[in-house]
Symmetry: C2
């Protein structure tokens, strides 16, 4: 890992060159590099926490002056209970994941002695832009090395001292391994994000890790593919045939278990037929958890005989159905049919994760086929949309893209494939369906 104060272009070019070496290292060499990083960070805990303390001191001053939020200061603190240990364990967890590189995905005999293979390989150079959380740098460096990709890291300025300390430790650790130093680079120059985003000849994929605003800014300002999502406006369509008690529990889970998460519920669509049966109980359960309900006319009227805490019920505005509140506010809208629910979600949602609660299988399948989202669920909490929960072992990010990777992205999302052919110099002109030509065999082989 190197610390780059030079031009973004030089960093990108050096990363591209290093990526070729990294791409051909065996899994053992990549795993050894992760172990070396783990050992070096373990040995350098004191100096890294000292650097982190300097970041924290500046941040606390800025917070006292009202220039930084307390939440951000809290996220900066590497010394917080369990954070350091989790960061280190994360490196070993990534090491233990299955190697995503070199997997044969297809093998075809084109002819005798002419074999086509499709093999997974690293994408090349990743640009990872993240905000202030200092532990992210170790996680990201691990994911890049494990998947054989070079990476350029650009972190939030509030963690600069921590990032520099960690990257120096990683750098000296990598110097004892086969991973080239410039395969992982930390850019510390200020205000270079736009220049980095213009390096589309060298950088193959941008991965933003941070706020919606960061992601949106990046998507607006680069031609390089971006893996991520700006918004997480998830919906549940509650039909009249849903289970009342279970629905209340699952909707409370979707809304309140982590309101600031992108997979949290933002809009509840209630079938008109459910207004008098299931809805009041659901509303009551949400209100008990402190959720503020922004209601349309019918869903409000249906609660006229339900006693709710003061301030629980507000009138919804049209903007509420296009807003990712990220807090304990829930927009509620009444619809009559699954078609209306689907149309609302496809128009107002963010194509992230949407669920239908119903006991009607045909209706559920129709909903899952028609809703144009990365996750489409039947009787399931939107909070399930997560790489760890899906069993991927890690999560590179959650994508709402329509190509490459969609939904929670595991290590596979950092790979692409290449086609290899091993032949015996056969000229292509000899093949075909014409007279005297040799037909292709196109025989699928096992792999």
């Amino acid at each position: 890992m190197s610390l780059t104060n030079g031009s973004p272009e030089a960093a990108a070019t050096a990363a591209k060159t290093a990526s070729f070496t990294l791409a051909s290292l065996p899994a053992s060499a990549r795993n050894e590099a992760l172990e070396a990083i783990h050992a070096a960070l373990t040995a350098s805990k004191d100096e890294i926490l000292a650097a982190n303390a300097r970041d924290l001191e500046l941040a606390r001053k800025a917070a006292a002056d009202g220039q930084l939020s307390q939440a951000l200061v809290s996220r900066l603190d590497l010394g917080k209970k369990g954070k350091w240990e989790d960061m280190l364990q994360g490196i070993l967890d990534v090491r233990d994941l299955e190697d995503p590189v070199g997997k044969v995905q297809l093998r075809t005999k084109l002819d005798d002695g002419l074999i086509l293979e499709r093999v997974s390989c690293p994408i090349g150079v990743l640009l990872i832009i993240f905000e202030a959380r200092p532990e992210v740098i170790a996680n990201i460096a691990s994911l890049a090395i494990k998947s054989g990709n070079a990476a350029i890291l650009k972190g939030g300025k509030e963690s600069t001292e921590s990032f520099i300390a960690i990257s120096q430790v990683i750098s000296s650790a990598l110097s004892t391994t086969q991973v080239p130093n410039s395969a992982i680079q930390l850019v510390t120059t200020r205000d270079v994000i736009l220049q980095l985003l213009s390096q589309d000849r060298s950088i193959d994929l941008v991965i933003p890790r941070g706020s919606n605003d960061l992601v949106r800014y990046i998507k607006e300002n680069t031609k390089i593919p971006v893996l991520g999502h700006a918004d997480g406006l998830c919906s549940i369509y509650l039909t009249a045939t849903a289970d009342k008690e279970k629905s209340a529990i699952a909707i409370v889970d979707s809304k309140t278990s982590y309101p600031a998460a992108c997979n949290s519920l933002e809009t509840l669509l209630v079938q008109d037929k459910a207004l008098g049966t299931i809805w009041p109980d659901v509303a009551f359960a949400l209100a008990l958890k402190g959720v503020t309900l922004r209601l349309d006319e019918p869903s409000k009227a249906a609660l006229s005989s339900t006693t709710l805490p003061d301030g629980t019920v507000l009138d919804a505005t049209p903007e509420d159905y296009d807003t990712e509140h990220l807090n304990l506010t829930l927009a509620v809208k009444t619809v009559s049919t699954v078609e209306e629910a689907i149309a609302h979600i496809n128009t107002h949602g963010s194509h992230h994760t949407d669920s239908i609660f119903t006991s009607n299988e045909a209706e559920a399948e129709h909903f899952m086929n028609q809703v144009d989202s990365a996750g489409v669920y039947w009787n399931a909490s939107t909070r399930l949309a997560d790489g760890m929960r899906y069993g991927f072992g890690t999560e590179v990010g959650i994508s709402t893209n329509k190509i490459h990777s969609r939904g929670p992205v595991g290590l596979d999302g950092l790979t692409i494939y290449k086609y290899k052919i091993r032949g015996d110099y056969q000229p292509t002109t000899g093949y075909g369906e014409g007279e005297g030509q040799r037909p292709w065999k196109h025989e699928k082989l096992s792999f």
Copy 2:
């Protein structure tokens, strides 16, 4: 299929709406639509050829005035032997391909009664921009319908009359099927390419079918992902251990079997040790086929005692190694090692298809791992890079992208996936590794 003279934005929005309906049609309904198109085109041959004749007449006049090339006029002619029949057969061939939609790619039991599935689905709305060949419209409409994608088609102006005639026939054929009319739209308004390329809210993927200049222009002017390649600068590295006779045949095949194709050989890298042994025979075989050789010093000197036709040998300029000649011109450069060959290809190539000719397996594997191209071959002609030759049954295009699809793209390249979860309202808060929590099962299920 509808004919759109309105705004590109209206076309894109209508296509997006239609895409949801199309995405949930069963394979049978999509295949029936292809059959309806086939039958309608068959029945309307005369009127379509009459429209085509009007395009041809204008084009011939323009050619006579020197405003159009004869090659373009020739490509316009739908009446040319076999072209009409091939176009019609192509529709049935696409119908007969395996359905790329609804394939289960992963099935995991997260817990009892909580099943995760990853299922292939259409991407959404394709924007397909092509040049004058009128038969392309039927091919593209077929691929889009088969893969469940809506498509906006914008063709070259020289074929306008043919396109309009074909699209009217397709439109009336589709009106008898379940495929919504605005799922396939032909935009006939002039000079709207830039406006179409800005519809990134509705259009999910751009597929250019045409010249390098067209592809480059599109890539420069849109934020929508582009599937394709601007250049095809393919190389072969000829080592001293390659088979002499077979190398000559395979290099001649790579260079001369279709010089204007993107997978044709443009640069031959000759190992210095092969200059006195294999190279003169290869040069002689190429010269016999009319190839002009642009040589560096050593490769030229090595031919001093080889008799070649006049004009066969020229001195290479540095630009030759960065040029896709697309004709019978071959740039030749001498290198000493496989590392030098790899570095040259990764720097000067277009990441399309590159091959090594050697009898050394370790060297070949190293080359295939290190060369950063969609196709990396050992003792095989670069001309193999083709969807039909790979056995995909069709070719949507050839991609040099590093994400989603790389190399020859079959129907699968027009799909993405979504995650479906079928559950029983389980709250996520109950799961985890903590005390009293329920661990995830993450059990792989068959599919």
